[in-house]
């Protein structure tokens, strides 16, 4: 990724600041991106700038795909509610938070499976440096008759500095029996063995860290297909390394 590469003007227009996106509109857009022929199934991106709740209603056979991105310097509380009301729906909810300084980022996810036969997948990865406080509260609720539901949730965090704090509360509330549900959460540090390997191959320490962090966030941003945004994310990661001397 090169920060100086030229960008097609269209890509910039696609990027809409979070605070400017009205909820129903975002919901429609997120669904339209997926149903439009030839769109390649790109997720709608929400670039978070301030606290704002987001609610999605996903009916039978509908597809929702949204990715939230929180860059350094943003403090926000982001409650996201998804109500799945019909069978055959597919929901992909992803999030990435890169926090530094005194940032405080809180995701509060409620994934409500009111109807069975649908799939939801969540993946939220975060990097906390400086004195940042990152919290992830994620709840999956499967209603009593929502059989054949599949709901998955993952939250991974890396703590980069002594003063940073991560709190994660993934929760499952299951009232139906024929379901496949799982959640996983991890909090950890960058792997030293990996870095040692890279350094022994001549990659400088800082660059090795950047590569590790990029690979950590890659599963979240993989499908974005948006060069401006991925470049901004890469720059943000570099700024985390520069700031903290991790």
């Amino acid at each position: 990724m090169d920060s100086n590469s030229s960008n097609p003007a269209g890509a910039a227009a696609e990027l809409r600041p979070y605070s400017a996106a009205a909820s129903p509109e975002l919901c429609r857009r997120a669904k339209r991106e997926w149903t439009r022929p030839g769109s390649g199934g790109r997720p709608a991106v929400v670039l978070v700038e301030s606290s704002r709740p987001e609610n999605f209603v996903v009916g039978a056979g509908e597809r929702l795909d949204v990715t939230f991105v929180v860059l350094p310097g943003i403090s926000a509380e982001i409650p996201v509610t998804v109500d799945i009301t019909g069978p055959g729906a597919t929901v992909d909810l992803k999030g990435l938070y890169l926090s530094s300084g005194k940032d405080q980022v809180t995701f509060n996810i409620a994934m409500n499976h009111h109807a069975g036969g649908s799939i939801s997948r969540q993946l939220f990865n975060g990097l906390a440096s400086g004195e940042a406080k990152c919290s992830f509260f994620g709840k999956i609720i499967v209603a009593q008759d929502a059989q054949k539901t599949e709901a998955y949730q993952e939250n991974h965090n890396i703590v980069l500095s002594d003063e940073a704090l991560v709190n994660t509360k993934p929760q499952l509330e299951i009232y139906a029996d024929d379901v496949k549900c799982s959640h996983g959460a991890t909090v950890g540090k960058l792997n030293e063995d990996e870095r040692f390997y890279m350094r022994s191959r001549g990659i400088p320490e800082e660059e090795a860290k950047v590569l590790q962090m990029i690979s950590f966030v890659a599963p979240v941003i993989a499908g974005l297909d948006d060069e401006i945004l991925t470049t901004r994310i890469e720059n943000a990661i570099r700024s985390l390394v520069g700031n903290n001397n991790v």
């Binding site: 009593q144 008759d145 059989q147 965090n157 703590v159 980069l160 500095s161 002594d162 940073a164 704090l165 991560v166 709190n167 994660t168 509360k169 993934p170 929760q171 499952l172 509330e173 299951i174 009232y175 139906a176 029996d177 024929d178 379901v179 496949k180 549900c181 799982s182 959640h183 996983g184 959460a185 991890t186 909090v187 950890g188 540090k189």
Partner: protein, 482 residues
């Protein structure tokens, strides 16, 4: 499998009877119903307690009066009228206790399979302290334990014979005002077990407490205190049963464990309090506080619990990992059926560097029950290189039950690594089909799968307990195919 067979099997589980539900007809001493300072003074006088302990109780009572019942559990708790409970009931025995055991009482314990008289095969390896309602009835093998300097006796005796030790460690892990039920227990606790293992001593046999609620309208508030000095080791087991009654009975216990440098304590529980009937009437409200502290470096504390009973379970055996490189584990199987509710889990507080903890929780819910795992893993700033791994699996049997997971992970240290994973599922048709085509019928297949599912926890239990736990699991889940 067709619908009808499924229904039949589900009916099969829900109609399982509670086999420990008998009442022993013996004469008992009660004190009046209700809770006030006079009642506490009466309990203290009856037990001939020193002044400091009465003060301790009154202090706890005053704190308790200012506290509110916690409501954060995923539980539908009935309203408990704390003035409608008898706080002290003891088997009446004119001669001095516990020299002679009432034959009726012995019969009760016989039915429960507890070798109070040291004559069963198991008695050779297990020393037992049995608590019947509010009083500890018999403690076996005291003499042979005393030779090694091990103190194992009822709490009341410990207060009389080893007041310094009790005073030093009482409420050192669970402070009086820790929570609503711990404060209540501190005010009115009646009896329990006390265990002290001196420096460097390996306890030669498993120690065991057996608790039974017998009298109607009473609550049980026992207190267990275990102290393992440097380099010692101990395996401790606890079991519980109660008669069948239409009313709810309250059980609010406190367990405190102090583990010094390089000591090793294994604490196992098979909890089989009366769970209420198929319509959810009656049953024990099991609201207990259990906590241990790994005080010294290299200390180790392991919790293993098999929870099959109680109408409501509210229980979080926890460990404070204070000593550097201390370790702790929590292994749990919780089975709920009919209208049982369980909100159980653990807390691992990492303070020392290099501390490690591991949580394995297996929930099985059937009928209309609700089964929750709730856990806290906290990495304090000093917990350099600390490590936690948690795994919580839930198995659902029937479409009317619920399984929930509420973990809380707090990391304040960049070098600490915490992992949590949870799954919820039912026994899959593929698994059943595979077993069927290998010649196992549906019931055996489910037994096999459930036992395999809980194996990781059951294998941690001491042998005698593992047998009982496996049996309990089979009884409550026989032929339960979802």
């Amino acid at each position: 499998m067709d619908r009808r067979e499924e229904d039949k099997i589900i009916e099969g589980i829900t109609s399982q009877e509670y086999k420990e539900g008998f009442v022993t007809d013996i004469r008992q001493d009660f004190i009046p119903k209700g809770l006030n300072e006079d009642i506490i003074r009466t309990i203290s006088t009856l037990k001939q307690e020193p002044d400091w302990l009465l003060e301790f109780r009154l202090d706890a009572f005053r704190k308790w009066q200012k506290m509110k019942m916690p409501t954060w559990g995923h539980l539908n708790l009935p309203v408990i009228d704390f003035q409608d409970i008898i706080y002290y009931a003891a088997p009446k025995n004119d001669s001095e206790r516990p020299k002679e055991i009432d034959p009726k009482l012995e019969e009760t314990f016989e039915k429960l399979g507890i070798p109070v008289r040291e004559r069963e095969a198991l008695a050779g390896v297990v020393a037992v302290d049995a608590v019947f309602d509010s009083v500890s009835v018999a403690t076996t093998f005291r003499a042979s334990l005393a030779e090694k300097g091990i103190i194992f006796c009822s709490f009341s005796e410990a207060v009389k014979e080893h007041p310094d030790l009790v005073r030093k460690y009482l409420a050192s892990v669970v402070p009086v005002g820790d929570n609503f039920y711990a404060a209540l227990n501190s005010a009115v606790f009646s009896d329990g077990s006390f265990c002290y293992i001196p420096k460097g001593v390996k306890c030669p046999m498993d120690l065991s407490s057996y608790f039974r609620i017998n009298a109607a309208g009473t609550g049980q508030f026992e207190r267990t205190l275990i102290v393992a000095e440097e380099g010692s080791s101990l395996s401790y087991m606890e079991g519980c049963t109660a008669p069948m009654r239409d009313e709810n009975q309250l059980h609010a216990a406190v367990v405190e464990i102090v583990v010094e440098k390089d000591a090793d304590v294994r604490y196992s529980t098979v909890q089989n309090w009366y769970p209420g009937d198929a319509q959810g009437r009656g049953g024990i409200l099991n609201l207990v506080t259990k906590r241990g502290i790994c005080k010294g470096n290299g200390a180790h504390l392991s919790w293993t619990q098999v929870e099959t009973g109680s109408a409501i379970t509210w229980k979080y055996p926890s460990t404070i990992l204070k000593g550097d490189y201390s370790t702790s584990e929590f292994y749990s199987v919780a089975v709920t059926n009919n209208y049982q509710q369980a909100d159980t889990g653990t807390k691992m507080i990492h303070i020392g560097r290099g501390t490690k903890s591991r949580i394995v929780s297996k929930g099985i819910s059937a009928g209309h029950s609700e089964n929750s795992y709730r856990g806290l893993v906290r990495m304090n700033p000093g917990a350099i290189g600390a490590r936690n791994y948690s795994q919580c699996d839930s198995l659902l049997i029937g479409s009317k039950c619920g399984a929930h997971t509420f973990p809380d992970i707090q990391s304040l240290n960049p070098t600490a690594i915490v992992e949590h994973e949870a799954t919820t599922s039912k026994i899959s048709d593929e698994q059943l089909f595979y077993c069927n085509q290998r010649g196992l019928d549906a019931e055996d297949a489910v037994g096999l799968i459930v036992n395999g599912y809980a194996h990781e926890v059951l294998s941690r239990l001491p042998m005698e307990f593992a047998v009982e736990a496996t049996k309990l699991l089979q009884v409550s889940l026989e032929g339960s195919i979802g």
